[in-house]
């Protein structure tokens, strides 16, 4: 009987061996895969085990971390003045994940980024807990406040983007209505989920979580005439801002029998570029677009950044200037109608390029990434994106835009003792223009040395305002002025 007993012993040994092999398989070979599986809750537990790094504006954090109770996620994100900064930060929620800057720089903020590996290893050896690093932004708190408060006071939907033309730094990025990312930063199935649900577009037609400054495109209306003027100057179609243009009024669009109308009784017949921009003549700029043709207009629009997504590093939607258009469509597009659509960031880039003597800088909002110990890990250097205009032509365009503010539709943006150039826009939308137009204003302000420290774009949609009241000059220009003033003041 002992021979089979020994065989059974071997069999039992094989059973144990099989278990040992399987154990090595799941705890050694597959361990990393299992440990980092996205559904493995330990991954998220680890993620929230230590305070998240902060997003910093003007040397002060606009975010924080709070210890939670009753959850296995130890720390949750808090935001200071959340609604104002939400378009900059995005959100980082235990229940709903992270977006925008919070998501893009997640590695630095949680401390998991490879560039922190050496430091983390050092921390582990010295027994310290892993700490997240900080994201230092380019934003200007005063400008952001002016922008957000302006939109809030105005009350309708809208957005503001301010840039530093010489570098591309984003100084302000506001969207209204906004939301407080603190309200759903945790993972409570009651409070956090409720707050989240209430903010969703299907429950809230105002769509407060839409980042209008980067992710919404609007017909730019007359503000686009700056691009058209730039194309005319660069092409050489007209070289003198004060020379007469070949512009009949009324003008019948090429290939059609339709008259392109001007708003009101304004002196547009053969008007100079300066006058045409000052009064916002549709006929003059429509005809320029039509004369230059689709290709040249598209070329200039692309140089300003149209038809391409921008990464600030938060993605901004691509603005649109179509190709394959006939002359009349090109004419309409050249006055910012038809298919033309732009994000507020895009129009700020237009103003910024003109103000920066024709050089367009890549817009960015992250100045540098820091480890907790305030060591710099990465610094963003300003980068030239393109040169849509020669310096001479840019200066011509500047003088035209300054006339707009001085004597024309943009007079609400005047700042005493400061040179301001701008352009208003009132873009129609809806079927047969049934909906309220968008009020636009793009501008820049010059410092004492002649360089422009700020360019800004403001767009306001207002469901409540009386239609006639809406014009870029009336609704949007005052906000732009306040933002520019805030930047100028902080530079002093």
């Amino acid at each position: 009987m002992n021979k089979p007993l020994r065989r059974i012993a071997v069999f039992c040994g094989l059973l144990v061996l099989a278990l040992l092999i399987r154990d090595n398989w799941i705890q050694y070979v597959q361990a990393d895969e299992l440990r980092t599986d996205k559904n493995n809750r330990r991954v998220t537990i680890e993620r929230y085990a230590s305070p998240r790094g902060d997003i910093i504006v003007d040397g002060k954090p606009i975010t924080g971390s709070a210890e939670t109770s009753g959850s296995d996620f130890k720390f949750k994100r808090t935001y200071k003045n959340g609604p104002m900064w939400a378009p900059v930060t995005g959100y980082a929620s235990q229940a709903f994940g992270a977006t925008q800057l919070e998501s893009i720089e997640d590695g630095i903020l949680t401390g998991n980024d490879d560039r922190l590996f050496f430091r983390n290893t050092l921390d582990m050896l010295t027994g310290k807990k892993q700490e997240g690093g900080n994201v230092v932004t380019t934003l200007n708190a005063a400008a952001q406040k002016a922008a957000y408060n302006g939109l809030k006071k105005q009350g309708g939907k809208g957005a503001v983007v301010a840039l530093e033309p010489s570098t591309g730094k984003i100084l302000s990025l506001a969207s209204y209505p906004s939301y407080d990312p603190s309200s759903f930063a945790g993972n409570s199935t009651t409070t956090d989920t409720d707050a989240w649900q209430k903010l969703q577009k299907k429950n809230n037609p105002n769509d407060p979580m839409l980042n209008r400054a980067l992710r919404e495109t609007y017909p730019p209306g007359s503000t686009f005439k700056v691009v058209t003027a730039a194309a005319a100057l660069e092409d050489g179609l007209y070289t003198d801002p004060d020379g007469k243009t070949d512009s009949p009024d009324p003008w019948i669009m090429k290939g059609t029998t339709t008259k392109l109308p001007n708003e009101g009784n304004i002196p547009c017949k053969n008007a100079t570029l300066r006058v045409a921009l000052q009064y916002s003549c549709n006929t003059v700029f429509g005809k320029i677009g039509s004369d230059l043709g689709n290709d040249k207009m598209l070329d200039m629009a692309k140089k300003f950044g149209f038809d391409e997504e921008q990464f600030t590093p938060v993605r901004a939607n691509a603005s649109v200037f179509s190709d394959d258009m006939n002359p009349s469509e090109t004419a309409l597009s050249s006055i910012g109608q038809f298919n033309t659509a732009a994000t507020p960031l895009q129009m700020a880039m237009v103003a910024s390029a003109v103000a920066n003597d024709g050089k367009l800088m890549k817009p960015y909002m992250v100045e540098e990434l820091q480890a907790r110990s305030v060591d710099t890990i990465e610094r963003t250097e300003p980068e030239e994106l393109s040169q849509p205009l020669s310096p001479e032509n840019a200066q011509k365009l500047q003088s035209m835009m300054e006339t707009v503010v001085d004597k024309g539709t943009g007079s609400n943006a005047k700042i005493p003792g400061v040179t301001v150039g701008g352009k208003t826009g009132t873009a129609q939308h809806g079927v047969d223009n049934s909906e309220n137009p968008y009020a636009w204003f793009i501008s820049y302000a010059k410092g004492e040395d002649g360089s422009a420290p700020v360019a800004v774009a403001v767009v306001v949609e207002d469901d409540n305002a009386v239609r006639d009241d809406i014009s870029g000059g009336g609704l949007a220009a005052p906000i732009a002025r306040n933002v520019m003033e805030a930047v100028l003041k902080s530079k002093q």
Binding site: M1, Y28, R35
Partner: protein
């Protein structure tokens, strides 16, 4: 058996060495380790969770020490030549199990389950008491031979209990529990395991010659006669019935496997193994083809991630989808080589049954690969001591009973550990000594008691030669 005397190289496992050491002091020294290690582990959990030595440390240490002490004294008095390793091994596993159960009691996620550690300590005490009862009252294991058919009746009765309406409890699809009002639930299958081993041993000892010799040779295999197939068919049918009515693959596999092992040892015919494997394969596949509960278990084994997603999505399709299989794998994977340290893992994410069927995952996460391998080797050692006892036993009944019990123990460890680690489909079974569950702990202590009794008889120095030594020689039927 005479067979043991033919091989002088295996003298350690054979009888006859007059004045063989009892090894009781070895056992006592090992028991000290078996108590101290869990006490340290217990303190470790408290320090990790609350930065303080847990207040219950003293009473826990004393409790475990008392159990070990009582066990040791009973063995010293009533089974002085018993195997010295089994008691320390069982005590160590029981102690570690208590630590893990207590650790899971502290979990906030599992706070809506009743505290289990104090009850488990009570069950362990009852288990050791039963071990004492076995050793004190069972002077000779051969007495059990008299109860061959009573054991069979008892085992069948225990197996049928969960199916009695009003008594049985369906917990997460398997019907292997009975509810005792006021006391909780009981798994009669754990006790049936021992009763069945007694029955098989008694039955096979009588029938083994007929089963072994009356056969035809075919393609190198000895094929049994048709009528000799009867018993294995009966056991097979009972196993299938368990599978169908109690929907428990594990218990079914365990009983059938135990029978095949004992049949093989009794008859030394490989053909029985082949038959056994074929029949269990046919049975398992056949039942799985119409039993949705078994199908779900197999699917969860093949693709635990899908089962996790179905469970998360709350899919209602008539069967219970559980994320536990995946959660257990994550626990093992997250533990890695050395584990997170006791008290610092998240194996409580497994939820229900984290401290019973899935308790190995807690060791996997918190003690890592190293800890789980150590625990598996502890089980391997218990099985090895059991097989050694079977080798050393002098009578065929003792041999069969010892190999049956240790084989069943080994199969149970394989089925439950393999299930939790995703090696085989998961079945509702408890890891002996470690997992929370009164029936399991008590029954396994009794199992150890019987093995200790057999090994005591086997290792006890032979009484002074008396009578006619030729009498023994005449019993030789066949060399082996």
């Amino acid at each position: 058996m005479s067979g043991t005397n033919t091989s002088p190289t295996h003298h350690t496992s054979t009888i006859g060495a007059i004045g063989a050491p009892s090894r009781r002091n070895t056992e006592l020294a090992l028991l000290a380790f078996a108590v101290v290690i869990p006490v340290f582990a217990y303190a470790n959990v408290g320090l990790a969770l609350n930065d303080s030595v847990p207040p219950g440390l003293l009473s826990y240490g004393l409790g475990l020490g008392l159990l070990a002490g009582v066990g040791h004294l009973v063995v010293r008095k009533f089974a002085p030549y018993a195997d010295p390793l089994m008691l320390p091994l069982a005590t160590l596993l029981n102690g570690l199990g208590l630590v893990a159960i207590w650790r899971l009691d502290q979990s906030k996620r599992l706070s809506n389950y009743a505290e289990a550690a104090p009850r488990q300590l009570l069950y362990s005490a009852m288990g050791v008491a039963l071990l004492a009862v076995v050793l004190i009252f069972l002077k000779d294991h051969r007495v059990l031979q008299r109860y061959t058919y009573i054991s069979m009746a008892g085992a069948l009765f225990l197996l049928i209990l969960p199916l009695v309406p009003g008594l049985g409890a369906n917990i997460y699809g398997a019907k292997i529990w009975i509810k005792i009002p006021g006391l909780g639930t009981l798994q009669p299958g754990e006790f049936a395991k021992i009763a069945l081993a007694v029955f098989f041993a008694g039955y096979l000892m009588v029938k083994r010659d007929a089963l072994a010799l009356a056969s035809r040779r075919f393609m190198g295999l000895y094929l049994p006669r048709g009528r000799d197939l009867g018993p294995i068919l009966v056991v097979w049918v009972i196993s299938i019935l368990i599978l169908v009515f109690e929907t428990d693959l594990g218990t079914s596999l365990l009983f059938f496997g135990m029978f095949v092992i004992m049949l093989y040892v009794a008859t030394e015919r490989t053909s029985w193994i082949v038959f056994g494997l074929l029949m269990s394969a046919v049975g398992a596949v056949g039942v799985a083809s119409f039993e949705p509960h078994i199908q779900t278990r197999v699917q969860a084994w093949l693709d635990p991630m899908r089962e996790f997603e179905l469970s998360r999505a709350g899919v209602q399709d008539g069967v219970v989808h559980s994320e536990q299989a995946m959660q257990a794998l994550w626990a093992f994977g997250s533990g890695g080589t050395l584990g997170t340290g006791l008290g610092q893992g998240n194996s409580d994410l497994i939820g229900f049954a984290a401290n019973s069927d899935f308790i190995l995952a807690t060791f996997g996460e918190e003690l890592g690969l190293a800890g789980v391998m150590a625990i598996l080797l502890l089980y391997g050692l218990i099985i090895e001591r059991g097989v050694r006892t079977a080798l050393a036993a002098r009578d065929p009944f003792g041999k069969l009973l010892a190999i049956g019990l240790s084989g069943a123990f080994g199969l149970q460890v394989f089925v439950v550990a393999g299930g939790v680690m995703g090696l085989i489909p998961l079945t509702g079974m408890t890891l002996p000594f470690v997992a929370y569950g009164g029936s399991s702990v008590i029954a396994n202590w009794a199992l150890i008691g019987i093995l200790l009794r057999i090994s005591d008889t086997a290792r006890r120095p032979a009484p002074a030669p008396a009578g006619n030594p030729d009498a023994e020689m005449t019993q030789v039927v066949r060399p082996s």
